[in-house]
């Protein structure tokens, strides 16, 4: 409190205004400090103080050093102290000398001397205070300070010797209490009487309020505003904004510095930064001036790069396939952004704009490849983000058919395909017939289907459709040649054997299942295109292949209507049946026949053993040699034993059909020899 009061003396308002004289007590006791003051001070430039005591401390203060505090230590041995006061004025000065006597046992101030006043002081109204218990004409100095030692807003006005009016300006005074101090001399001693008054919350101090945004963004102007609360309507408030610390920013700009509201623009930061700003509000009215200053921080976030998000409509692209890529750019600050799409692999893919999206198409590739697209988005401030979009580009599979391409009529066929990509890449496999008599396709495995070809002599065609994606189907076609079943001639056998293993002429007595009872030979009704013994069906052909009447002298060939084979007639023109030739000679004959296209054929050959047998009959009397030689049976030509050469060969030997009027057998004989032979033209 003593310190507070001492400080208050610095700003104390002088109540008595006299010609230069010094107010001071008459006595001082060791260990006491007293206040000395000179007044009036207006006409003087400065005051100086000096004491005669070696031990006493004398320290001046005040605007013109018109005050001084004299402190006498307890151990001081002085009995009196001379105080010299100099009032300086230009080059001249006035001086006063006063004496303070040192006495011990300073009497206590009577308890009746006390400051009285209203229990609660009122703001903006004069509050009368009085020092009770003092004698009239007692010189009293009054001071009023707040708890911080400030007398701002507090005005004292003397009313009488012991009364003073205290006015507290609510616009300036900012404390909840006021300390009033009265300094007086009683019986030559100096006393100080204090009393604190509570304002009971009346004080509505001007308050500087700053409104800021929660956060500020780089490159974006943000608002700042200030407001001084608890001002009077007559008060004029001016503001002054300034930047205290830029923090990590390269630049902090205020749109205006002297308005209640301003915009702040922060640029050049890479991460969150604090910027320290300050605003000072000057409050001016007719009777007072106040200044309020606040420093505050704002948090500024760096402008963030925009981000990219993309979606593709397909996980991969097959050769020639397209897909849509949707790219979305998002900027945290809603900045305008620019999207750049760069094709890093133009050999594999091509890109085109499609409305707001992009169409990516796979180029023709011979091997799997990885297309790559670089997506870049950039905002106004050059912040950018990039993403790489990898597009797997797949070559189309090669389809290889591994099934057989020929089959006989009525036999089961199998369609089988192989591909050179992983099977799980194929979404669907479909076999489809596109040509030929419809067959029932049954899928038996992923790439296999079976069927039964019905009719011979036709071609079937199937396609295999591989669905690789909803937009890509790869197809391949395979051709199947359906061969007609070959027909066999019957043997001409008409002999029967009974169950007792004896020859019989009665077919009814014959063992069932013998050749003579089965087949074309045994058929009671057999439709023939031409004519022939037993089940044989022949037509005679001219040299050009035209059908001639049976046994025509112009005939050159014999057509077996049942098997389709054409046989060269063994006659005078073509060579007698009995004529023997070796393979070399026969080959020469064949060459000549083919060159001449004998009977319209150029596929002449020496028949194999089965082919040779097919045209022969085992019948002893009605054998086919009449027909093969063009000799009518009725003419009764006799055929002797024949060794007919076939082309069936095994290690230098050829299969020989040995025909004898009584039997037919076969053997193998050297192919270096000459034999009888028949020649045929195949289909």
């Amino acid at each position: 409190m003593l310190r507070s009061i001492s400080a208050a003396l610095v700003c104390a308002a002088s109540i008595s205004v006299q010609a230069f004289e010094v107010q001071l007590p008459q006595y001082i006791s060791p260990g006491e400090q007293v206040v000395l003051s000179a007044s009036p001070i207006a006409q003087y430039d400065e005051f100086a103080w000096q004491s005669s005591s070696f031990h006493a401390q004398l320290q001046s203060y005040g605007e013109k050093q018109q005050f001084a505090v004299l402190k006498l230590p307890k151990y001081a041995s002085d009995t009196q102290i001379n105080i010299y006061t100099y009032a300086l004025q230009g080059w001249s000065y006035e001086t006063k000398q006063n004496l303070i006597e040192v006495r011990a046992n300073k009497p206590k101030l009577p308890s009746s001397i006390a400051i009285s006043g209203p229990s609660t002081l009122l703001l903006d109204q004069p509050n009368v205070l009085s020092l009770q218990g003092v004698a009239p004409n007692t010189r009293i100095s009054w001071q009023a300070v707040d708890d911080n030692g400030s007398n701002q807003g507090a005005v004292l006005q003397s009313v009488s010797d012991n009364q003073v009016e205290l006015s507290l300006d609510s616009a300036v005074f900012q404390s909840e209490s006021i300390n009033v101090l009265a300094t007086l001399n009683v019986s030559g001693w100096q006393y100080q009487v204090t009393k604190s008054f509570n304002l009971d919350g009346q004080v509505t101090q001007p308050n500087l309020v700053i409104n800021t945004q929660n956060t500020y963004q780089e490159h974006k102007s943000g608002q700042l505003s200030a407001l001084v609360e608890h001002t009077s309507p007559d008060d004029e408030v001016t503001y002054q904004w300034r930047v205290i610390n830029k923090g990590l920013a390269e630049a902090v700009t205020l749109s205006t510095s002297n308005q209640a509201q301003t915009d702040v623009l922060v640029e050049g930061i890479e991460k969150v930064s604090k910027v320290t700003l300050a605003v000072t509000a000057e409050i001016n009215s007719l009777d007072k001036t106040a200044s309020l200053t606040k420093e505050f921080d704002i948090t500024v976030t760096a402008n963030k790069a925009p981000s990219l998000n993309f979606t593709t409509s397909k996980p991969q692209l097959w050769d020639g396939e397209s897909m849509t890529v949707v790219v979305e750019a998002t900027d945290p600050e809603q900045d305008t952004t620019t999207l750049t799409v760069e094709n890093l692999t133009p050999d594999f893919i091509s890109i085109s704009k499609k409305n707001t999206n992009y169409l990516v198409k796979a180029n023709a590739v011979t091997a799997d490849a990885m297309g790559r697209i670089k997506l870049t988005v950039e905002d106004l401030w050059g912040n950018r983000s990039s993403e790489i979009l990898d597009v797997k580009v797949r070559r189309l599979p090669n389809i290889h058919f591994s099934h057989k391409h020929r089959l006989y009529a009525n036999s089961p066929g199998l369609l089988k395909a192989e591909i050179d990509i992983p099977v799980n890449q194929v979404q669907a496999v479909e076999w489809q017939q596109v040509l030929g008599e419809p067959v029932q396709l049954n899928k038996v495995a992923e790439f296999e289907a079976n069927y039964v070809a019905n009719e011979g002599g036709t071609d079937l065609s199937f396609t295999l459709n591989l669905t690789l994606s909803p937009d890509v189907v790869v197809s391949a076609q395979t051709q199947i040649n359906v061969l007609s079943s070959q027909r066999l001639n019957d043997t001409g056998d008409v002999s029967y054997i009974d169950k007792n293993a004896r020859w019989t002429l009665d077919s009814l007595q014959s063992l069932a299942g013998l050749d003579a009872l089965i087949g074309r030979d045994a058929s009671e009704v057999l439709l023939k295109q031409g004519a022939g013994p037993q089940g044989f069906d022949f037509d005679f052909l001219s040299g050009s292949g035209a059908v001639l009447p049976a046994f025509s002298s112009q005939a050159a060939c014999l057509r077996d209507n049942h098997t389709g084979s054409v046989w060269l007639l063994k006659n005078q023109q073509n060579g007698d049946l009995q004529t023997k030739k070796n393979l070399v000679e026969i080959a020469a004959d064949i060459t000549a026949l083919n060159q001449k296209q004998r009977c319209g054929k150029q596929t002449w050959l020496l028949p194999s053993a089965p082919q040779l047998l097919s045209v022969l009959s085992t019948n002893q009397s009605e054998h086919t040699f009449y027909w093969l030689t063009g000799s009518e049976p009725a003419l009764g030509r006799v055929f002797s034993r024949l060794q007919l050469l076939s082309s069936t060969e095994d290690t230098g030997q050829n299969y020989i059909v040995n025909w004898h009027p009584s039997t037919l057998a076969s053997s193998w004989a050297s192919n270096q020899n000459a034999y009888q032979f028949l020649l045929m033209a195949g289909e």
Partner: protein, 172 residues
Amino acid sequence: MNKVILMATLLGTMSYLPNSIAQCNDASEVARYSPVLEQTITDYKFGLMWSACAISPTSGECMSDSEVRSRMTGLKAVQFAGESVIGGHTDWRLPNLKEAMTLFGGCQDFTYAAPLQMGKYQRRIWTATTDSGQSEPALKTIAMVNGQIVSWRVSSSAASVFLVRDISQGAQ
């Protein structure tokens, strides 16, 4: 020296012979026979169904692995054929000579080439075609090894039996 000349002649002959002589109608790509199904095999080329194996002289069905003897007399062969029930079919018979010859083939030889399971020690097969030139009733047989046609009396146990039946019109 003569041997060398002979070889040269042979080579010359072979090389000279066009396909018209040394024909080998390779239809190996074509699936001629079906897989075995109920002891039957189908020959799609000629429209015939065969027993998938040689017929047992005792059971009239396919020979078992333990049976050694596959030969039977021609008479018994004909009778077995008419009584056989194989694959649910009852119209089995012995093949005639030309049908039996379809079981033989080859390009550089001429031997049994069908998938029908032969019996043990089977040397030839019976056909239903008679050889009327013989005083005693005989049937033609075909040697398994080279397709040679040889007639045997029906009372002799000369050959084994493959059975056949028609599955298409006009096959005979």
